[in-house]
């Protein structure tokens, strides 16, 4: 017992050995390094588990280690403070250096990785835009075994068909048995060839890998039969199916005619990726594999349907009705043994358990895309530009299509979205014509007429026409195929070529114009030079006369003559100056003469970071942006001015609300304190009432009273004062201050009363004896003493008012607006501005909000630091 009580004796210092210190230091260093690492790397994802582990460790330690018994008492407080006070402060600082917020689109790779590694709901409410399929090895194995079975069936079918074919064509003596044998053998041969390939390819898929088929907006066209093809109509009118490599930028053979038939099929665009498990990154990494490469992994499946397709020539002899004949494409094929891309359905059905996505046509993609957008995933910034996914428009009629080129891959993509974009005139494709706006030469009428004549002579006045664009616009995103887009590109190239030619012609015109003009100017210049010369001679003569006149005897005439001559000389000189200026200007004008020029069509990455959308994307991923948020606050054209206004108002609001309520509170306190007032307690109770009512009720209540149209203040007093909605912002500010006065004076009254009672009354007695008036007593005794006691509290109140969100937001919501498009309103203080930035109706910007919060941190911190210094609060800690 003695030992225990010794141990628990208060104020006993625990001595620690040198080794213990070293260990403790080492632990702190490690923890610090870990924290720094976490802050830099996976702060937001790992810190909470980290704290949980830390907390559990701490609990165990304080329970089991007797020396730490003190911490048992502090444990709950420490845990709560760490998680819900310290961590948010650090996290705020962290966010301030990121672009965390909406308006960020992660790069394609990131999006895919996210799709593959993220958690997706099984009920399908959360689906990626890039509808992806993936399967572990066993699923693929299942599929392949199914496929093999089907293939065997197909081989059987081939045999049957062969016999049927032979049977049916036996009448036809022209068709040799050998020929039929040949056709059938061809089919069999293909299977024989393909099989080893499939098996071989399956070996290549390691256990840790899976296949991902990524559906996306662009690139590949697959027709209804599941073939990945480009359809090209040759000159003969025959249809050929060629396996296309859709990545090729140039359009195949003559883009004009190539695009007609493709939309008949229901195309689905496919990107194919192999997802490999990266042990280092602990996630799947996607690598894009080409169409050719996919065979390495799933065999030649895609080609199967190619092979079973009969051309008309092949089966021209056949009159069988059973063979399907497609009148549109003029083809025969036999449905019986066609193995198409659609056979992926088995594969897909298997996969549905894992990833419930259907493989379907365009409407499906739209749905998936919109689902994805509803979830509002957002995207990080990689190459300095912000990207944003837009909702795919469901309605067929009301949208515009933009074509742009992916910078990274150099491939075309179209967007379907009704909202006009910033770089509109740079790539807007308007029907068949490209409407071009900069060809304006009206500034120089002479040059204009010259140019117009020239252009009329050369027949250049027609607009630049891009053909085939109709095939691209007016089409849904899912039906625009690579061929069409390539056509557009070709046409744009053509147009650009034409524009260069046009421009070179313009350059030639310019030269002609300038030489002609120079020729014209030459004579004029000479003429004017001659005039200048003549005038110079005149000036010399005048000077001579002047010299003569000056010798004459002084007098009125001499004076007048000199004056006259001088005037003449100055005038001539000025005239010469003017003429020389003209000549110079004329030459200069020609030197700097500019002819209008057509600029080329540009297809560019659309930067939509500033466009507004109905459906804001919630933040998801973010990048570190350094001090960008802070520099934005102080240098941005749109943000700095509002921010400064908000800042100034915040300071005014805090200061004035403290001063006014203190003044009123003090006044009442003085009245109560003076002598023996009857019913003091009752009065005090009455005056405390505004403070006793929950502040949200009183602020909201005042909001109702001051309502400009229906408020009881305006109605009862028959006033028409725009208390809360005065567009200049003055009345709302006054309203805020008045309401706050009403709310705040009781508190000031209470604390003033307390402070007044603590003042020694003998001071007043002494003052009375000395004959000081009441006001002098107040000014010289009461106020200084009060301020010494209450000063720190007033500073505290200032800090409170600085963050008094409710006092502003519940009354005015920060309104009225400063300017159209400016987020903060007239009455917004910094903290409500932060709120609006982070949780407002528009796009949210957590990074910027946190940056402003940090500025507030600093201000409040400074104020409080001074307060602590003033009240020696730090000494309390030291003495503790």
């Amino acid at each position: 017992m003695n030992g225990v009580s010794d141990k628990f004796t208060p104020d006993k210092k625990v001595k620690s050995s040198g080794i213990g210190k070293i260990i403790a230091t080492a632990i702190f260093v490690i923890l610090g390094a870990l924290l720094i690492y976490l802050i830099y790397d996976k702060f937001h994802k790992l810190l909470v588990p980290f704290f949980i582990v830390l907390g559990i460790g701490f609990i165990l330690m304080s329970i089991w280690v007797k020396g730490l018994y003190i911490y048992r008492y502090m444990l709950p407080a420490i845990l709560i403070i760490l998680i819900f006070t310290v961590y948010p402060i650090f996290y705020t600082v962290y966010i301030a250096f990121t672009n965390y917020g909406t308006g960020h689109l992660m790069t394609l790779d990131d999006a895919r990785t996210e799709v593959l590694t993220g958690k997706w709901d099984v009920d399908g409410s959360v689906l990626p835009l890039y509808a992806e399929f993936y399967a572990p090895k066993d699923k693929i194995d299942n599929f392949i075994s199914n496929w093999k079975a089907k293939k065997n069936d197909a081989i059987e079918n081939v045999k049957e068909i062969k016999s049927d074919f032979i049977k049916k064509n036996s009448k036809n003596s022209d068709l040799a048995d050998d020929d039929i044998e040949l056709v059938a053998a061809e089919k069999n041969k293909w299977y024989d060839e393909v099989e080893p390939g499939i098996i071989k390819s399956l070996d290549k898929i390691k256990k840790s890998e899976f296949l991902a088929i990524v559906f996306t907006k662009d690139k590949v066209v697959i027709d209804a039969e599941g073939k990945i093809i480009d359809k090209i109509e040759t000159n003969d009118g025959d249809i050929e199916y060629t396996e296309s490599v859709p990545d090729t930028a140039e359009p195949a053979a003559g883009g004009d005619a190539a695009t007609e038939n493709v939309q008949e099929a229901e195309p689905v665009k496919t990107l194919i990726y192999l997802a490999k498990y990266d042990n280092e990154k602990n996630s799947y990494v996607l690598t894009e594999i080409g169409l050719d490469d996919i065979k390495k992994y799933v065999g030649d499946m895609v080609r199967i349907s190619d092979k079973v397709l009969y051309t008309e020539d092949e089966l021209s002899a056949s009159e069988s009705e059973e063979s399907a004949y497609d009148s549109d494409t003029d083809e025969f094929y036999n449905t019986n043994y066609m193995i198409t891309f659609g056979d992926f359905s088995d594969f897909e059905n298997g996969l549905k358990e894992k990833c419930p996505i259907e493989l379907n046509g365009g409407s499906y993609l739209k749905g998936v895309g919109n689902e994805f957008m509803k979830k509002k995933r957002s995207f990080a910034l990689k190459d300095g530009k912000m990207y944003k996914l837009t909702m795919i428009n469901e309605t067929e009629s009301d949208y515009t299509t933009e074509v742009y080129e992916d910078k990274k891959t150099g491939k075309f993509v179209t967007t379907v979205d009704g909202s006009p974009l910033k770089h509109w005139n740079e790539y807007k494709l308007d029907g068949m014509n490209f409407v071009y706006g900069t060809f304006d030469i009206s500034a120089n009428t002479e040059a204009e007429s010259f140019l117009n004549d020239k252009m009329a002579n050369e027949g250049l006045n027609e607009k630049v026409v891009i053909e085939g664009i109709d095939n691209v616009i007016n089409k849904d995103i899912t039906t625009v195929n690579a061929g069409d887009l390539n056509t557009v590109k070709a046409n744009i190239l053509k147009a650009n070529k034409y524009i260069s030619e046009f421009n070179s012609k313009l350059a030639k015109f310019k030269k002609e114009y300038i030489t002609a003009k120079k020729e014209e100017n030459k004579s004029l210049n000479l003429e004017q030079a001659q005039i200048v010369k003549d005038k110079k001679v005149q000036i010399v003569e005048l000077n001579k006369r002047l010299a003569l006149v000056k010798r004459e005897p002084a007098g009125y005439n001499r004076y007048m003559d000199i004056k006259d001559l001088n005037n003449q000389i100055v005038q001539l000189k000025n005239e010469n100056k003017q003429t020389l200026k003209e000549i110079k200007a004329r030459n200069l004008m020609l030197d700097n003469f500019k002819m209008p020029k057509l600029s080329k069509f540009k297809i560019k990455v659309i930067d939509v970071s500033n466009t507004d959308y109905e459906n804001p994307i919630e933040p998801g991923f973010f990048a570190h942006v350094g001090f960008h948020n802070f520099t934005k606050i102080f240098t941005s054209k749109t943000l700095t001015a509002p921010f400064m206004r908000v800042f100034v108002w915040t300071v005014i609001w805090s200061a004035v609300s403290v001063i006014t309520s203190f003044a009123m509170g003090l006044m009442l306190a003085l009245v109560f304190n003076a002598g023996d007032l009857k019913g003091k307690f009752l009065y005090r109770t009455l005056f405390i009432l505004p403070y006793a009512i929950p502040s949200f009720v009183s602020v909201l209540m005042w909001g109702g009273f001051l309502n400009d149209d229906f408020g009881v203040v305006n109605l009862a007093l028959k006033l028409d004062i725009p208390w809360l909605l005065d567009p200049s912002g003055i009345m709302p500010k006054i309203s805020c201050l008045l309401v706050n006065l009403w709310l705040g004076f009781p508190y000031m009254m209470i604390i003033s009363l307390g402070a007044l009672q603590s003042i020694d009354s003998s001071m007043y007695e002494a003052a009375d004896v000395d004959g000081a008036s009441k006001f002098q007593q107040f000014r010289l005794i009461t106020l200084p003493l009060l301020l010494i006691t209450l000063g720190p509290m007033l500073v505290g109140s200032f800090a409170f008012a600085f963050n008094n969100f409710g006092g502003i937001y519940l009354l005015t919501m920060g309104r009225p607006v400063m300017d159209a498009g400016v987020l903060p309103g007239h009455t917004d203080i910094l903290i409500s501005f932060t709120y609006k930035l982070a949780f407002g109706e528009n796009e949210t910007d957590y990074g910027l909000a946190s940056a402003i919060a940090i500025i507030v941190f600093f201000i409040i911190g400074t104020i409080t630091f001074l307060q602590f210094k003033f009240t020696n609060t730090f000494k309390e800690v030291d003495n503790a």
């Binding site: 009580s5 709950p76 929950p694 109702g704 009354s761 957590y846």
Partner: protein, 421 residues
Amino acid sequence: MLNKKKGGIPLLKEVLQHVILIFVALVVLLPIIEVLFAGVRKNQAVFGPHIGLIPTIDLNTWIDSNEADRRENVISKKNLINRFDRAVSGMSEFDIIDTEMSGKSMKVENGSPEAAAVKDAFKKYIKGNGNKNLETVFLDKYKIWEQGVSEEDKQRVGSIFFTDSAAYKLRYIYEERFTFNNFKIFFTGVGVPDALNAKFPMVKWFLNSIIVAGSVAIVQVIVTALASYVLSRFRFKGKKLGLMIILTIQVFPGTMAMVALYLLLLYLGNLSPLLGIDSKLGLILVYLGGGIPFNIWLVKGYFDTIPKALEESAMIDGATPWQAFITIILPLVRPILAVTTILSFVGQYNEFVLAQVILRSPDNLTMPVGLRGFIQVQGAMNTRFGIFSAASFVGSLPIVVLWLALQNQIISGLTGGSVKG
């Protein structure tokens, strides 16, 4: 307290003091009285939303009330004209929309003779019709007038009223009639005008507020008492650092870290929905984090004033620190703990921002977040002020009673705590 000689006119002075004080008190308390009365008054709408071509009666509030009810609603002609003027003066042009018929819309510029004619006709009508300024008479007459006026004019007049802002501006009137209807609406949550599909479970909000603020206050006081005891009584490693950290942290209210707190709860919500966004438990935890540092500082100061000799003697007698804490210290510090509990209860009851950020679904809201919808939702304030008043009366009651009952303790806590920092 001051031993001053009474002057020659002490009585007059005192009376004057009382008069001034009563006047100030009246001015100060008038809003509270007004809210009290508004709670038992029905706020009526004169004109309804976009129903037809002409101003008709608000279906929400009028259909269920009978003719007699209607006739008690008073609005002066002058007031009506004023409101009409205000309704149309802000607009640069009127949207004249034929809502029922073809959906065609045309615009008439404000100030154009056409618009002036329409306005004049309307004012003239208001002035010339109805005696005793009875609004119902006006409405009745207006219906008759409607029958005699050309379709075109009707549309114009009607649509002037029914541009959205105008319609709302013309809608408000007090019914000078005593009713408990607002309280009924408060307790049932049914019958809020212009509610559409919105839910107003006001009793739930009230209970939520009590639950959240109450549990925060209780947990906080326990946690605080434990920590303050140790910080006040023992010396141990890191005590100064800890105190310094607490002192620094209590400076920053949770409001400033709202983004981080929101994201933290978003993350915790992934671990368990109980802790996430839109959960009361999450809000309670956040409030706890915001209040504990300040309270520790406050309570520790009080602990320091209690002589250590008390427990030292107990420990000499063989008591453990825990026993000393429970049996000796705790009864002594009860006043400050009570004050802390009450203050933190009031504080959390009032808190708005974090609740607004964290709570989402109508059933989970606290009073401040919920009641905001009665005043700050566009166009709703006029018809819902009575309900707001009733709700805020009920909502304020516990706090006000608490205050008035314990005002001396609370005041001592307020001044003491604030002086400490």
